[in-house]
């Protein structure tokens, strides 16, 4: 579809879309995996977003939904994109019911902006992202999570209500504004991990957490993977209640791997001290550092970005927490077999993380295959970021499970014309 025909399509759909000033021709920076969209549309109201989806569905225009654009490279190569529909202008915090510990925010609001607003009442939406500018809608759609997942879970765990725009132009609510509610289907959770393939997220309501009174991070380094795995097992079966329990493993040019645990305690000062004392006794670490204040914030910011600021493919993986030693062995083996660098950042207690592997295309593709080969040790291997050459050879989403027909039926029920996210997956 050419730009003039896109414009005439928008004109016939609703002239207000063009008048709102939220339409521009897409440029090379808007391309996803080399697929060039025609135009970018930024609706300035939920109604306009819903109407745009309905018109696009009738005309079978292919759409990719975009929040902050920080994770657009995740997923398969788009089959074709007519419009990028951005939620950038739907970015308000609609309500912060601090007495109820809930907030309703629009999909295009960034996590950073939301949390700055919530902090005025010493509360926060306890999620973290690896990217500046991640939006709430994008975080739900990808179910992106980080270190605080250990205590607070992923976006789907905090979501209590959602508003969606469907491809037939409805604005639909599910859930509500109260933390406890089992009325009707949980469409919010259905959107979690959907990558914008089923409907557009307009706004969402979350349960919040109070900001912790104090925080300290214990950084422990280990000489070998056995020692690290033992430490993880000891903390996991202890009564310590860290706010985050992360690991970082890197094999670079040198012979010795870098093995670090980061354990964050965020509670009253007395409870932090007591737990750090207990943790020291549990960890047979080579070296232990305590980090607090501005250094601590910096430490975690660097940790969250580590995989994304270096080159190579980033692959999401899950593992049984007790299989960590096997995971570390596999990572080490991939490192020995030609990767110029490989590192793993993840949640030690949950068994969730991402692997970055750099090297030539073949090395990266083989690394993905290796990660998929030991299914009792590592599972749910999904290629997040990779060059197109790698994506074309490594199956981005991995083998579909036996629910694939069911997922297709759900997709057909919500997006019968197949306009959303065509080719990128997961449905």
């Amino acid at each position: 579809m050419s730009l003039p025909s896109v414009l005439s399509f928008l004109q016939s759909c609703n002239p207000a879309i063009l008048q709102s000033g939220g339409v521009r021709e897409a440029g090379p920076l808007d391309a996803i995996d080399g697929v060039q969209p025609r135009a970018l549309v930024e609706p300035d109201s939920p109604e306009m977003l819903a109407e745009l989806l309905a018109c696009s569905s009738r005309e079978r225009l292919s759409i990719v939904l975009r929040g902050g654009g920080t994770k657009l490279g995740w997923g398969g190569r788009p089959a074709g994109i007519d419009l990028i529909v951005s939620t950038r202008r739907l970015n308000r915090v609609l309500a912060h019911a601090h007495g109820d510990l809930t907030a309703t925010v629009e999909a295009g609001a960034t996590l950073g902006d939301v949390n700055r607003e919530l902090a005025r009442h010493h509360q926060w939406l306890p999620l973290d992202t690896s990217f500046d500018g991640s939006t709430i809608g994008g975080m739900i759609a990808t179910n992106e999570s980080g270190p605080v997942r250990h205590r607070h879970g992923t976006p789907r765990d905090l979501l209590i209500g959602i508003r969606l725009a469907t491809t037939d132009g409805l604005l639909v609510n599910a859930g509500g504004r109260v933390v406890k509610n089992v009325a009707g289907y949980d469409l919010g959770r259905l959107m979690s991990g959907s990558f914008g393939s089923l409907a557009a997220i307009v706004s969402a309501t979350f349960k919040l957490a109070p900001l912790p009174p104090a925080s300290t991070t214990l950084v422990a380094t280990f000489r070998d993977r056995q020692a690290m795995a033992q430490a993880v097992s000891a903390v996991g079966s202890s009564q310590l209640e860290p706010a985050a329990f992360d690991l970082h493993v890197a094999h670079e040019s040198g012979p010795a791997p870098h093995l670090t645990l980061l354990i964050r305690f965020a509670t009253t000062a007395a409870a932090i001290d007591a737990q750090i004392d207990d943790a020291r006794r549990l960890l047979a670490a080579d070296h232990i550092d305590l980090v607090t204040g501005a250094h601590e914030s910096e430490l975690w910011r660097d940790h969250a970005r580590r995989l994304w600021t270096a080159a190579g493919a980033v692959v999401r993986v899950g593992w049984p927490p007790a299989a960590l030693e096997g995971v570390l062995a596999l990572v080490e083996r991939i490192g020995r077999e030609g990767a110029s660098a490989i590192e793993l950042v993840g949640r030690a207690g949950v068994g969730a993380g991402s692997v970055r592997v750099s090297g030539d295309t073949t090395t990266q593709v083989r690394a993905v295959e290796h990660l998929r080969a030991q299914r009792d040790v590592i599972g749910n291997v999904v290629v997040l970021r990779a060059d197109l050459a790698v994506k074309e050879r490594a199956d981005v989403w991995g083998p579909p499970g036996d629910a694939v027909a069911l997922l297709r039926a759900v997709k057909t029920a919500l997006d019968p014309a197949g306009i959303l996210n065509a080719g990128r997956g997961p449905v």
Binding site: G99, D100, L101, N143, R156, D157, L164, T166, L170, N173, A174, G176, R177, V178, V179, K180, V182, A183, G184, Y185, D186, L187, R189, L190, G193, S194, L211, G236, S237, Q239, E241, T267, T268, A270, A271, A274, Q275, R316, V317, G318, W319, P320, P321, A322, V350, G351, A352, G379, N380, V382, G401, D402, A403, A405, L406, L407, A409, V410, L414, P426
Partner: protein
């Protein structure tokens, strides 16, 4: 019922796994919401996932609707049979299949009781967190269907936060694996959709749940207040301190009296009590518990009792968890309502309930999860008094309308079931429900899987809402209610 069809069910589940005599069926005509009853055509008791699958396939072939049932403790008629349909009772699927302490996971069949999981792992210092009051008898399969909560979900979340994966027999008889024992299953969160779908999207046959390490320390206090308002104020003040207790429960005078009469927990005779429990690392609990105690006093607590040990704590919880059943001591019949309001709107909604109580002439006891605004008004009535049963249903519905007006929900944990389908239209638009129905149809295009639940349907011709009264022909077991 057609003899040939019957013999096919017998071939799948064995002669002792198929019930079809009216007297046998009576046990299954309702769940724990006794005013809705329906005799099914047949009850089957499969003993394996493949038998469940075969039964569902046969139901599809015969075009018979089916309803899965756990242990029948549901309070919304979610397991209410469908006329002419099959009840698939999962009580024989009751094995604990795997306990994996290293990964903090337990794999169970749906008929295992909630408390059984904790019993298995307690010696090793673990427990299963969701704790509905019926946890001694309710089944995990039922918990999955209803997304059950409990007193401690304020801190620990609901069933959906503790189920990692399950096998499900879909409405067409296919078996699928949803979720994964490992983190981050790719794609839309079908586990999250299925949990709480009240048995309308399929039947879970093997469930992997997360278990949690026992906290280092638990502290419980019971605070007495002169008014519900003062107790409500204390709840808000605790939260405003930035403290998330593991449980905050409130009971009013009538509920306290009932609990005293039934299990003698030694509750004070006051207008309201608050039970607050904190758990976590000892040093954290110590300092926060002090703040909670001070806050209660500042908000006007007339007395505070702190549980000195696990025995005292158990006694307090026994009084709280027995509260529903205890209403039987103070009233011949009672109706348990389940509504939610934003926590800050609690005092206002409770005042409206008080006014309604005076106006209706029916006593209303209040037991609720105050921390998350989940109300459980217990509406007392006497079914022998003409009109009182209907009045109780009206009062219950009016309380729900207060909840909706306050921005809350028509159900926090009991489910919509068959009981509240007509209230769904007050909380959701026709468009909201239409999209949910599309999702349902993707799972169950033939509408055979627990039909008549969750979504409003046009009332049958001549049917009048109200509490159920058995007709003589039904009492004799010779007729079903359609």
């Amino acid at each position: 019922m057609d003899e040939r069809l019957l013999s096919e069910f017998v071939r799948i589940c064995g002669a002792d796994g198929v019930l079809h005599e009216p007297l046998q069926l009576l046990t299954y005509e309702c769940d724990a919401l006794p005013h809705l009853r329906m005799l099914p055509a047949l009850v089957v008791l499969p003993a394996s996932a493949s038998q469940v699958q075969a039964v569902v396939r046969l139901c599809n072939r015969a075009g018979m609707p089916f309803v899965a049932r756990g242990h029948g403790t549901g309070l919304s008629g979610g397991a209410l049979p469908v006329a002419g349909g099959v009840v698939i009772a999962l009580s024989r699927l009751n094995r604990v299949l795997d306990v994996d302490l290293a990964n903090r996971q337990v794999t169970v069949e749906p008929g295992v009781t909630n408390l059984e999981i904790t019993r298995r792992v307690a010696p090793d210092g673990y427990y299963y967190a969701p704790d509905p009051s019926s946890q001694q008898v309710c089944s995990i399969g039922g918990n999955v269907a209803e997304n059950s909560g409990g007193a401690h979900c304020l801190k620990y979340g609901f069933t959906v936060h503790h189920v990692l994966a399950f096998d499900a027999v879909l409405p067409d008889g296919e078996i699928v694996h949803l979720g994964s024992p490992m983190a981050d299953t790719p794609g839309p969160d079908l586990v999250g959709l299925f949990v709480g779908s009240e048995g309308t999207l399929g039947i879970a046959t093997k469930i992997v749940v997360r278990i949690v390490r026992r906290p280092e320390s638990v502290q419980t206090l019971l605070a007495a207040f002169d008014s519900i308002d003062a107790a409500g104020g204390a709840v808000s003040a605790i939260i405003a301190e930035g403290i998330i207790p593991s449980a905050v429960e409130m009971m009013d005078r009538l509920a306290i009296q009932a609990a005293e009469a039934a299990v003698h927990p030694g509750f004070p005779s006051v207008d309201a009590i608050l039970i607050v429990e904190l758990d976590g690392p000892a040093a954290e609990v110590r300092s926060l518990f002090q703040i909670v105690e001070e806050t209660c006093r500042r908000q006007g607590a007339t007395g505070i009792e702190i549980a000195a040990d696990d025995q005292q704590r158990a006694r307090i919880w026994k009084g709280r968890k027995a509260a529903f059943a205890a209403m039987g001591r103070v009233s011949p019949n009672y109706y348990v309502q389940d509504g939610v309001v934003p926590r800050t709107r609690l005092p206002e909604v409770l005042r409206r309930i008080r006014t309604l109580e005076a106006r209706s002439g029916l006593r209303i006891g209040n037991v609720f999860h105050a921390g998350d605004g989940n109300l459980h008004p217990l509406i007392c009535y006497d079914e022998r008094v003409p009109g009182q049963g209907d009045r109780a249903v009206e009062v219950a519905a009016e309380i729900l309308s207060y909840c909706i007006e306050a921005g809350g929900s028509i159900t926090g944990e009991h489910g919509v079931g068959a009981d509240k389908t007509e209230s769904m239209g007050k909380m959701f638009t026709a468009g909201d429900l239409e999209v949910m129905q599309r999702v349902r149809a993707a799972f169950d295009p033939r509408k055979l899987c627990n039909p008549g639940k969750i979504f409003p349907a046009p009332r049958l011709c001549g049917e009048v809402p109200g509490t159920y009264r058995q007709r003589p022909v039904e009492q004799a077991g010779s007729a079903e209610r359609f």
